[in-house]
Amino acid sequence: MIVNRREALIGRVLLLLLMAITVVPFVSLFVTALHPSGSYPAGLSWPDDPQWGNFADAFRSARMGQLLVSSALIVAGVVPISLLFGTMAGFAFGHLRMPGHRIGFLIFVLGLTLPFEGIITPLYYQVRDLGLLNTRWAIILPLIGLFMPFSVLWMRAHFVTMPEDLSEAARLDGATTWQLFRRVHLPLARPALSSLAILLFLWTWNQFLLAIVLVDDPAKRTMAGALGAFQGQWGTDIPLLCAGSLLILAPTLAVFLVFQRRFVAALLQGSIKG
């Protein structure tokens, strides 16, 4: 490829600038978190006496241990079920193509652009009537439903690319449809599934609206919802709030950095298909 040196240089500078803009808020959050609790530090100044204890304080007052468990439970409820149901439906729409599959699929696609605010009001009353208000189920069940359009679309896109011969061969061997799904197609869908799992994990973990509307107790919310409550409770103390925010960010950041390659790929594909 022909790249002249000046263009490359401009590119590098631009990239560095963009990275700086992306990172600065994080740095500011971090530096502020180290100031004495209760103070109003100005701008980006390194404190004379960094208060590492702020993180421990925030960990205690935000009850991070409980929050982590709670978010993990919610993720454990949402992701596997969404994956299973989404894959089965994607298999049906993409591969089995039963009569009426087009309409069925189209109804799912219609839900793809739905803003959660659009249904949050009836959802509240529905969840209340089910007696699930203030339980983790109040977040888990609606999220499974809300993630269905994307999950189905995503898995269908995978199964559409699977050659028909594969199934024909299995059927000739006497496999039932379920065995065909379980033994042949599911193993082949692993890459698509893992990307979907990453996306669903992220979206569940960061879900805010459902958490603040349907669950009052921060200890039963998602991380993002708990952060909202944390701001309500400790917004009076900026360094502590910053320390708490960083702690609440930490798990996703850690997971992201460990699986970054899959993550980036999944997010890029995710938005293309979404």
């Binding site: 500011s28 009426g100 529905q126 909202g228 609440i248």
Partner: protein, 307 residues
């Protein structure tokens, strides 16, 4: 619970001959997904439409009011303002990330494989990974009176324009827009960069041989080939703008003086604080339709080009 499925069946009454026995079995596979979707999305959606015709405080009895909630929404300027704000946010949530993303991606295309670019891939994704709430908290702090933004402005001799960005009528909404742009610009840049990497290098080579500069190259080759990626960026960011909630809830709560009130937050306030469930639902219906009205043309435009 079985109603959604049977409803779907009846609507497809003219059944074509099944290819093989048990072809209907597919519906059994789709059933769990369909049930969850019907119960937790379609039913609430239908109820939203129904509520929007009632005057209901969420607790007592309700009263049928016809289209009154909608009339009020479209005639009362104060009620309509959040919708206008959402459109203004599109400029920031969509405009900046897509244009800046295109510019950056086109500029760094040549060094897309360098180590710096690989690091950048990770860094630029950070805002996508964190909760929007966290972005809101970070930026409220950055944009406060004593925050970094003002410190920077003072340092470069612009002390005169410093202000509480989120507390000023003129700047609060753009400030919220900047937060959204920050979250989305990395995603758009990388999406567009990924799209560019799929363009045949030979095209560029021949353009260079013809003496084309970077600008002509961009308009003649890059832009047309990116139709689909641009469509995706625009779609994702428009939805983010119209359905914004988290950032505004944290950074301004709609203030000062409703100048940053957006539909999502207004629905939340109406439904759960003012207990105007009917009016909240009417706004919700309008929001859902608005998103569709904005997204469908974009989809059509990009799909036409790529197929």
């Amino acid at each position: 619970m079985t109603r959604p499925r049977s409803a779907t069946r009846t609507a497809t009454a003219p059944v074509r001959r099944s290819r093989r026995p048990g072809a209907w079995l597919g519906w059994l596979f789709a059933a769990p997904a369909a049930v969850m979707y019907a119960v937790f999305v379609l039913r609430p959606l239908a109820l939203t439409v129904q509520y929007s015709f009632y005057d209901w405080n969420g607790i007592g009895a309700s009263r049928w009011v016809g289209a009154a909630n909608y009339t009020r929404l479209f005639t009362d300027p104060e009620q309509f303002a959040p919708i206008l704000h959402a459109f203004e946010l599109i400029l920031f949530f969509s405009g900046i990330p897509v244009l800046l993303g295109l510019f950056v991606a086109a500029t760094i295309r040549g060094i897309a494989q360098s180590r710096l670019a690989l690091v950048a891939r990770t860094v630029l994704f950070l805002p996508q990974v964190i909760p929007l709430v966290a972005a809101g908290i970070m930026w409220s702090w950055l944009l406060s009176t004593t925050g970094l933004a003002n410190e920077f402005l003072s340092a470069v001799g612009l002390g005169g324009v410093t202000r509480a960005w989120l507390g000023d009528f003129g700047t609060a909404l753009p400030a919220v827009g900047v937060i959204g742009a920050w979250v989305l610009v990395g995603l758009c840049t990388l999406l567009l960069l990924a799209g560019m990497s799929k363009i045949d290098v030979a095209l560029y080579e021949s353009a260079r041989l013809d003496g084309a500069g970077p600008v002509r190259e961009f308009f003649a080759i890059t832009l047309p080939s990116l139709r689909q990626e641009i469509g995706v960026c625009v779609t994702v960011t428009i939805i983010a703008a119209l359905a914004s909630f988290d950032i505004v809830y944290i950074a301004t709560q709609g203030g000062p003086g409703n100048s940053t009130m957006v539909p999502g937050l207004e629905i939340f306030y109406l439904a759960f604080a003012e207990r105007e469930v009917g009016r909240a639902s009417a706004l919700a219906v309008v929001l859902v339709l608005l998103v569709l009205a904005c997204v469908l043309p974009v989809q059509r435009f990009t799909r036409d080009g790529s197929r």
